[in-house]
Symmetry: C2
Subunit: 579 residues, 2 copies
């Protein structure tokens, strides 16, 4: 190699050694007779000491890529913040590999450059130590995942990414075929069908770090292509799969950021909605939703007499809920068709416009049963729609946690959400899958499939940390008959099934094992580990919210010839223009 | 898990244990009063012993997926060929997870089913132990590669697969954009530009197991999507990269098939062409091509008087070269515009129609200088085109090695081919890149760039094992000026460069480190390790030679609506028909 040491490893123990370092000029302090240069590489920074002559002869500028020879010497002003802070290199020779123009933004963790500017010169943005650290954590995370899965005899098997288009809600990216003109491949939304086929093949324990694609309108934490750790196993029960997920995530957190995840809580979908108002419960704090109907229906307030009444207590929260805050809360609640009712404990009694409907006895009962203390806040809402009521209050619960600084990014509380309903009954009376159409119903609920499908719970499970869904999965149906029944309930015609899943349904006829699996969202876990809420901070070359690569300027127009070869023509007026 | 043991691990030491096994019915031998069933899983086979009643009650058929409980007992007729051959399971309970229909072919390593039939039911084909073994070797190979690269501080970084289309010979697969109608992404032919940008970013040591795509007409060993181990490093010299390749491949062969690769030979491109008649020299055997001009130009034969004369000696080969074989050889040589001249050593003297042009002295000189023995064969050809002559004889050399059984798949001879020319001068006088346009010329040849570019050698290197090119790579240009000069020589206009590589050329302006790398073809290495010459034997779900997935039946037509969303129209008459 062209160097003897990296920029993070030389210390007092190396004094007097002749060394060669390579890297980028991070910072220059020129004092005329001599100059200090901070040399930066992937590992860290080392200070170089140059004579005035050396400095002017080399014509160094920030971000030049250079190589220096020199001797390790003790530094006059040590810097205790970096590992090399006690030494510097007395330079004897400088080679400039290539000079740098003035960079469009300063290469430093702290930057006020717009994200678009940074994305346009991503190769410079990626010089920022914080992004290099993120990519290193992501690397460690994938290594940890593989180490664990391989220790458990999972086989990494690559599945195709030019697959059959089977629209499932989200839109496929299509790839036109040149050989079969007018026909298309799709890029996979997940390797779901292939991994189940691998189980039918008897490969028993599969994993893959799989690139997946979804042509959806972008949200802040979505990219057109994303990565998942995709796992499937045979001859297993739900507990077996949950164990794999839990052990895998513990290993990931341990190996990549030295964090010991606690044992995973388990909560049913029903309880998650009831207590957290979310199927992605954030367990970093309590402030649980409570069913207040039993007590508040005793009041004179007509709204509490029927329907559902729920609420939550914000400890010491009375001072948070000014009129202005309440108005803002109600903007949020309005989306759920709710209105917040605020009760505070002030001077040992309840206050708020609703209190006039409460007898003194009832007030005492409320205080004692909810264990209300001076300065507490109770937020209540009522509705005839249980789910909307829960979700609305759940969203508000998160807002109050933010106000109280309860959402620490340094604390991770994992849980499994279990026992999901198989189906959601839509307003037109049809059924929709709550996870995917291959999910197996719970044995004890199978008898309800014909009569009350909406009551059937499934072997689906989600993994949630800090309110972020990291993984979803399920035990799968392994009987062809059961699969057919579920397709029927979902309103898929024989023809639909044959066209979309024909080969998959055929495969069920040849001895299918019980199996199940999950997919972990790599980008989301990386966001947790790197403590960022911007998915682009954990991807080397991300696309922006318009699914555009700002640096490469793609998607882009292609020569007419390329389209002719594919037998395609662009139609419409918006040729090449963003819509 | 639903089992206590897999089907390969129970031995005499487990006798009397109560166990539970899961797997597939591999073979049934029914003797009426009792029956033996071979139960198969990913790991192996265990014999089950059933009573006649159990057998008829369970209605077992081949490939049923079942679970059995029972006791380990000593087997009457041990099978020494399998690890579990000394025991069987006296079954107490059978659960059939799912019965199998009659499979379209027998699930066994030996099969006479057509490949298309197997590909159509790939999930059954993959039950064949030989394919499971191949996928396991491929898994081990990737694990070995990662283990090595991670131990050397390479960071695994994912690069995008929705990239800008930059046509480079082979054709891009295109992906239409929905948001920017009329614009397209391309699927990457390699992560070349992104990995070089990562070096410019200072990430210094990168690797990725990258999916790549090429829309070329398929050959037997090509797939539309393929996998490569993609590596790039900074501040390195050629030796540093070669060391990484050599150590990596040694580790791969060791960990996946327990084979110790010998140290890698090094040969220049020039010598490879001269001695092996190939830039992919097969070093499992000698039979080197020799320059015979110095000696044969002494003969009376006019054809040997000018141009080039080369040949090779086939030890004990006289008996191989019947008139019929010679005719067949000449069909091969004809492609190179050559004709073979055959000289045999019979009864201590040379025979063949050419010998009449050789004096007795010359005959003796030929015998002694080439060390010819009784029964040897010397094949000679001549041409004015040195390269064609070498390549033609090189191809014939391989044919004779086949006849002599010298191409053992159990022996691996690796080499590096070094010092490739930078450019090939085409007939129209223009220059073409022999590797890729980012390859750096050798320091000592740079001065020739302006005057005689065809003489400039580069820091490109190929890795070849047994005549198969496994990897190619190079040190890269890191000076913007040099890159521009090379683009110029390749006839790329300023506009072309800007359009195709604009952002990449810009990046060179901000301090680019010296860097280099390589890409290893995963499918090809897997073929070597698995000792198959069919690439589809080392891929779980391959496409056939028409780039079609026989099982999923893709590419396929998509609904008109999907095309409308993309602003595309299919043109021409061959809508959906293969051309």
């Amino acid at each position: 190699m062209l160097y003897t040491n990296n920029c993070s490893e030389l210390t007092k123990n190396d004094v007097d050694k002749e060394v060669v370092l390579c890297g980028w000029v991070h910072k220059i302090r020129n004092f005329g007779k001599f100059a200090f240069v901070d040399l930066r590489d992937r590992y860290g920074i080392t200070q170089l000491s140059l004579t005035g002559e050396q400095y002017s002869a080399s014509n160094l500028k920030n971000e030049d890529c250079i190589r220096v020879k020199g001797k390790v010497v003790i530094r006059q002003d040590p810097n205790p913040n970096i590992p090399t802070g006690q030494i510097e290199i007395k330079v004897s020779d400088i080679e400039v590999f290539s000079h740098s123009q003035l960079t469009p933004f300063i290469i430093d963790d702290k930057t006020d450059a717009l994200e678009d500017t940074r994305l346009k010169s991503r190769y410079l943005d990626l010089r920022r130590p914080c992004l290099q650290k993120n990519l290193t954590i992501r690397h460690k995370m994938l290594k940890a995942a593989r180490d664990y899965l391989e220790s458990e005899s999972f086989l990494e098997i690559e599945t195709p990414t030019l697959v059959k288009s089977t629209p499932e809600g989200a839109r496929d990216y299509l790839v036109p075929s040149r050989i079969k003109k007018g026909c298309f491949y799709a890029l996979p939304q997940s390797p779901q069908i292939y991994k189940q086929l691998l189980m039918i093949s008897g490969l028993e324990k599969y994993y893959q770090v799989a690139r997946c694609y979804r042509d959806e309108d972008q949200r802040a934490d979505r990219q057109p292509e994303f990565t998942q750790i995709d796992v499937e196993m045979s001859f297993c029960q739900r507990e077996d799969v949950l164990n794999v997920i839990e052990s895998l995530l513990k290993k990931i957190f341990k190996d990549s950021i030295s964090y010991s995840l606690p044992d995973f809580e388990r909560i049913s979908y029903k309880d998650a909605i009831a207590s957290y108002g979310s199927d992605k419960p954030d367990m970093r704090f309590d402030m649980l939703l409570k069913d207040l109907y039993p007590i508040l229906s005793k009041s004179e307030f007509a709204g509490f007499k029927d329907g559902y009444v729920k609420g939550f207590v914000v400890s010491d929260g009375a001072k948070l809920a000014s009129r202005k805050v309440q108005d803002k809360d109600n903007e949020l609640l309005k989306k759920y068709n709710l209105k917040g009712i605020y009760i505070k404990v002030e001077n040992s009694s309840l206050t708020g416009s609703i209190v006039k409907f409460f007898s003194e006895d009832l007030q005492r009962e409320i205080i004692s049963s909810l264990d209300l203390k001076e300065g507490d806040l109770l937020i209540v809402a009522n509705s005839n729609n249980y789910e909307r009521l829960s979700l609305g209050l759940g969203a508000l619960r998160i807002e109050y946690a933010k106000k109280l600084n309860l959402l620490s990014p340094d604390c991770f509380k994992p849980c499994f959400v279990l026992d999901w309903p198989m189906f959601e009954k839509k307003e037109d009376g049809t059924y929709e899958s709550l996870s995917n159409p291959f999910t197996r119903p719970r044995d004890e609920d199978v008898y309800l499939l014909d009569s009350e499908p909406e009551k059937v719970l499934s072997y689906a499970y989600d993994t949630v940390i800090n309110g972020l869904e990291l993984s979803s999965g399920s035990l799968r149906i392994y009987s062809g008959e059961m699969q057919k029944k579920v397709f029927d309930l979902l309103g898929l015609s024989q023809e639909d099934i044959k066209k979309r899943f024909g080969f998959f349904v055929d495969a069920f006829n040849y001895g299918t094992p019980p199996h199940g699996g999950f997919a972990l969202g790599v980008d989301r876990i990386a966001m947790l580990l790197c403590k960022t809420d911007n998915v682009r901070d954990v991807i080397a070359f991300p696309k922006n919210l318009s699914a555009t690569d700002m640096m490469a300027e793609c998607p882009s127009q292609v020569p007419q010839e390329s389209l002719d070869i594919l037998g395609l023509k662009i139609v419409g007026d918006d040729h090449g223009n963003e819509i």
